[in-house]
Structures are given as structure tokens and as C-alpha cells.
């Protein structure tokens, strides 16, 4: 079953063609990585898929529904979850509040004004469970800014997963992490259920070749290769452009 389909997608910033007629589709359960040198348009592409940016032309279908013109929050309701490149947890809020805000986002309880946030038992239990699994229960009342970088990254990815998304978008999940923390993230992604669909953007070759079944290579906003890790590794053009070999 098709999860995501991107057709002829382009984004222009003034004179710069950041993403140029990109077409690909992702099946349910796929682990797809998008790689490319700096400025290749990876994050822009992710922003288009998640709706932070509006496409100049082309279309995006999510489970058969045209979402090209939908705002980000509606795409979240349809089942897209995203972990950002720059850690974007609410730094000043407590760990617990971060979890609660994220969990309420796709539930109808998010607009309730008269009941204390602790009063939503199912959400609260889910938050407690998430924090215990992560080993962050003891730190639930600390501001997120006091957590180690790796812990924050872990929390952000796990919050994405706690939403039980149909598509998880990960923007450089291992950026800024130590080798061990990076391995932990690889473990998290590999441990996901096979029904989870994941789209990863990353520089980290080790992570990408470890977790992805399919790799899409972007260069100046265009797809120059699309295939299994083995195919990509042996692709002459990719080696020329991306890995700097000649």
C-alpha cells in the first residue's frame, strides 16, 4: 500500500531552485533515506512533505489524499510525525509538559479549556508510560534544557513515535550525537515495528546504510539515484558527486 507519493515537486526561493521536479513514492513499512551533499535540498524536501513550506509546483499525496495545500497541523492529524533537525523540544517547559503537549496535539482534547491537563487520564497514563520507557520519569518535572543532548534527541524521536504515526519524518536524527548515542538511535529505528514507515534525511552514512532499505540521492534539488544501499554504493555518479571520489 502506498503511503506517500510526491510528483513533480518543486520549490523555488527567488532564483534558487531548491527542489526540482522530484518524483518518488514510499510504500507502507518502507525505510527510506534521503541523502545528498549540503544544500542538495534535503531539508527543503522534508519541509514540503510536512507542510512547513508551500510547494511552487507539483503535488504530494498521503495515503491517496492530496495534501499539497494542507497546513502542517492537518498533516499531523492525518498521521505525519516529524522530528526536527535542530532539537525543537520546548526547552523551558518540563519534560512532562513536553510529552503532554505532543500527545494532546492529535487528540480532540487539545482544545479543552476547563479541565486541568492532568484530568485526561488516558493521555496522562500514556505520558507516564512513555517517560518510564525512556527512563525519564525521575526527570519529569525538570525543564527539557537540563537533559543531555542525546536524551533530548531520544525524547524527540520517541515523542514522534508516541503519536503512532503513519509516517515518521526524521531530519538528521544523529546530528550532534556521540558515536554511542548515534548507535542507540540506530537501535531505536531498527527496533521499530515493520508497519512503521520512516523517511530519514541524514548525512551520517553509517546510520543511513544501517537502517534504510532504499536510498534516494539528491543533488542540486534533483534526484540523481534511487535504489537499494548496494545499488547506491556502486553507483558511479553518486560516488563522483556525493562521496567526492573520481
Amino acid at each position: 500500500m502506498e503511503s506517500l507519493r510526491v510528483e513533480g515537486l518543486s520549490k523555488q526561493f527567488g532564483g534558487v531552485q531548491a527542489v526540482n521536479r522530484v518524483t518518488f513514492s514510499v510504500e507502507v513499512g518502507d525505510r527510506v533515506a534521503i541523502i545528498g551533499p549540503n544544500g542538495a535540498g534535503k531539508t527543503t524536501l522534508l519541509n514540503l512533505i510536512n507542510g512547513q513550506l508551500a510547494a511552487t509546483s507539483g503535488s504530494i499525496h498521503f495515503f491517496g489524499k492530496d495534501v499539497t495545500a494542507l497546513p502542517t497541523y492537518k498533516r499531523a492529524h492525518l498521521g505525519q510525525a516529524r522530528a526536527f533537525q535542530i532539537i525543537s523540544l520546548f526547552q523551558k517547559l518540563t519534560v512532562m509538559d513536553n510529552v503532554l503537549l505532543t500527545l494532546h496535539g492529535t487528540r480532540s482534547s487539545r482544545f479543552k479549556m476547563f479541565r486541568p491537563i492532568e484530568g485526561f487520564t488516558d493521555v496522562h497514563n500514556k505520558a507516564v508510560q512513555t517517560l518510564r520507557t525512556l527512563g525519564l520519569w525521575e526527570k519529569r518535572n525538570e525543564p527539557v534544557s537540563t537533559l543531555a543532548y542525546g536524551e533530548q534527541r531520544r525524547l524527540e524521536i520517541d515523542l514522534g513515535l508516541a503519536l503512532e504515526p503513519k509516517l515518521l519524518l526524521l531530519d538528521e536524527p544523529s546530528a550532534g550525537l556521540t558515536k554511542e548515542e548515534g548507535l542507540e538511535i540506530i537501535g531505536v529505528i531498527k527496533g521499530l515495528e515493520s508497519s512503521n514507515t520512516v523517511l530519514i534525511v541524514d548525512h551520517d552514512m553509517e546510520l543511513v546504510f544501517e537502517v534504510a532499505q532504499r536510498i534516494i540521492v539528491l543533488h542540486y534539488g534533483e534526484i540523481i539515484a534511487d535504489g537499494t544501499p548496494d545499488e547506491i554504493e556502486s553507483d558511479k555518479r553518486v560516488r563522483e558527486i556525493y562521496m567526492g571520489l573520481d
Partner: protein, 332 residues
């Protein structure tokens, strides 16, 4: 940001005591005050409510509005116009009308002002407020004969036979309105909606990504805030016996902002503390230094920003935390 910290698992006595003590003091204190003092306390409660309403928008949602007096003034003008043109004094008619008018003005402002963000939001709300100000200045129907503004407002009629309000009972009426508003606002800021406002203040794009319609939250917050500012305005008209275009414009819009910042932005009771300090200093400075009291207030504001940036309320709270731990009121 201790006051903003919901759900600390510490002994709840520590959080309950200051609230109860505050309510008790407010209930008893007028018995020991002259009519002048009672009037001053009434003024304090009205502005505390105004500052709390402003805090929802600026402190919690992070929207810097400079047009909040428009909602306050709308509430006041509703009362004044009903008196001037229809000779209606009955609180049960004037108050809902003032509330509705203020809410309506906020709903209109929001549609225009929330098309932009940041500094532009500030400018648009400022401009909209000034439009109402000049409207009140120029339209004859909005003024008493030969005046700028509307006079002749009395204390409201509560429709109880044989009972009419005086300074003391009016104070208690304002206190009841204040406490009801406090309870409603308290529930609001602790609900999922309230936490979502804080999330929007901290990071809009993340809120969008996890499923929140950020615009709708800001808009709703502005309208709710406008409604509470409207209640404050209704009470103010009855307190002041007079409304003028100034009560719609920038001079009045600054007041809740200064109070909220001085007391502690984004904390529930901060604006109340801020209003108390403001009204107290304003009153005494104007008695002892009639020419220079704005200077004193300005100086105090600067000192607060420099030495208690989180707000005087937060500062007091920290002292209370220390004291309550030291004397074993709460287990640490």
C-alpha cells in the same frame, strides 16, 4: 518561573496557603479602611483583572498586544452609553452588554491583527486601538453633551428592592467578579488549551508539526482575553463614574503591560502583584510628589527589570518558598 510551574509534586499546602491568605485579606481588609482606601482597593482589583486578562495573551501566548485598552474601553463605553442614551443602570443588562461588546471588538481585532506576527502584530493592535480612540474622540454620539467622554455614571443597580450599593458593597461586588474571573482564568491556563498557548509562545512551528492549529489558538486566546478585559472595563466605568477616549487608547493599553511585566509575565498571580505595586506606588507617589509621580513609577519599573526580571511576584514566591521550608510549614 516557579509560579508558572504547574504540577510540582510538593506539598500542595505551599501553593494553597498564599491563595487563601490573599482571598482572606481581600475579604477583610475593607473593614479597616476609609472610603478612600476602599476605593483604592476597588481600583486595584479592577486593574488586577485587566492585567490578568492581558497576561493570557502576552504572558502565556507570547503575543505582544498594544491595543488591549480597546477591549477594556469597550466594556466601559457599553456601560456609559446605556446610561447616557437609555438611562439603563441595571447591572444584569449592562454587564453582559459590555462583555459582549468587548468580545466582539476583540474578535474583529483578531481577524485583522493575527494576519501578521511579532512586531507587526504590536503595530496593528496599536493602530486598531488608536482608531477606536479617535472614533470616541470625534463621534458626538459617543460623548456627553459638550464633552470628550461620558459622565453621569452611577454605581450599578443590582435590581434588589430596597438595596443600593455604596462604596463598601461595591468593593465586595468587584471582589466577587474578580474571584470568579480568577477561577475561570486559573482553569483556563491549566487546561490543555492553556498549555498549548505556552507551547505556541515557545515554538510555533513545533506546535503545528504535532497537530495544533496555531492561528485558532491565538485567536481564541485573544477573544477570551478581550472578554475578561471587558469585564474589567465594565467595573471600571462604575468605579470611575466617567469614561473618556483615553480609556481606549495607548495610555491605557500600557497599564496592564507594565503591571504584568512588573509582577511576572506568564505566571498566574504575577499580574495581580504587579497591579498591587503599581496602584500603591501611583497613589502614594502622587500624594507626596504630585508633580513627579510618573518618574517614581518609571524608576520602579526600571529597577524591577534590572533586579527582578522575572517579576516581583516570582521574587516574592521564591522568598515564600524559602520561608515555608525553613519553618517546616512544608516538608522540603
Amino acid at each position: 518561573m516557579v509560579v508558572a510551574n504547574r504540577r510540582t509534586d510538593k506539598n500542595s499546602i505551599m501553593t494553597t496557603v498564599p491563595y487563601l491568605a490573599g482571598a482572606l485579606i481581600l475579604a477583610i481588609i475593607p473593614l479597616f479602611l476609609s472610603r478612600y482606601g476602599q476605593g483604592l482597593m476597588t481600583r486595584f482589583l479592577i486593574f488586577a483583572l485587566f492585567a490578568m486578562s492581558y497576561n493570557v495573551v502576552f504572558g502565556y501566548a507570547g503575543l505582544l498586544s498594544l491595543g488591549h485598552a480597546a477591549f477594556f474601553g469597550a466594556g466601559g463605553y457599553a456601560v456609559a452609553l446605556l446610561k447616557l442614551h437609555y438611562n439603563v443602570d441595571l447591572f444584569w443588562i449592562t454587564a453582559p452588554f459590555g462583555l459582549l461588546l468587548a468580545t466582539f471588538v476583540a474578535a474583529l481585532f483578531g481577524i485583522v491583527a493575527l494576519r501578521v506576527t511579532g512586531i507587526y502584530f504590536l503595530l496593528v493592535t496599536f493602530a486598531l486601538g488608536q482608531m477606536l480612540y479617535s472614533l470616541a474622540w470625534n463621534v458626538k454620539w459617543l460623548s456627553s453633551k459638550g464633552m470628550q467622554g461620558i459622565t453621569g455614571i452611577n454605581l450599578p443597580d443590582l435590581g434588589i428592592p430596597g438595596f443600593s450599593l455604596d462604596t463598601t458593597s461595591f468593593y465586595y461586588m468587584v471582589l466577587i467578579c474578580f474571584i470568579i474571573s480568577c477561577i475561570l482564568l486559573y482553569r483556563l491556563v491549566r487546561s490543555p488549551f492553556g498549555l498549548a498557548l505556552v507551547g505556541i509562545r515557545e515554538d510555533e512551528s513545533r506546535m503545528e508539526a504535532v497537530g495544533y492549529n496555531v492561528w485558532l489558538y491565538k485567536y481564541t486566546a485573544l477573544v477570551i482575553s478581550g472578554a475578561f478585559a471587558g469585564i474589567a472595563g465594565v467595573l471600571f466605568a462604575y468605579y470611575n463614574f466617567f469614561v473618556s477616549p483615553n480609556h481606549l487608547g495607548i495610555a491605557t493599553s500600557f497599564l496592564p503591560m507594565v503591571m504584568a511585566i512588573m509582577g511576572g509575565l506568564g505566571t498566574f498571580l504575577g499580574p495581580v502583584i504587579g497591579a498591587a505595586v503599581f496602584i500603591f506606588v501611583e497613589t502614594f507617589a502622587s500624594i507626596f510628589l504630585p508633580q513627579r509621580w510618573p518618574l517614581i513609577l518609571g524608576g520602579l519599573f526600571v529597577l524591577t527589570i534590572m533586579f527582578a526580571r522575572e517579576g516581583i511576584g516570582v521574587y516574592l514566591w521564591k522568598i515564600w518558598e524559602k520561608v515555608s521550608h525553613r519553618y517546616g510549614i512544608v516538608e522540603g
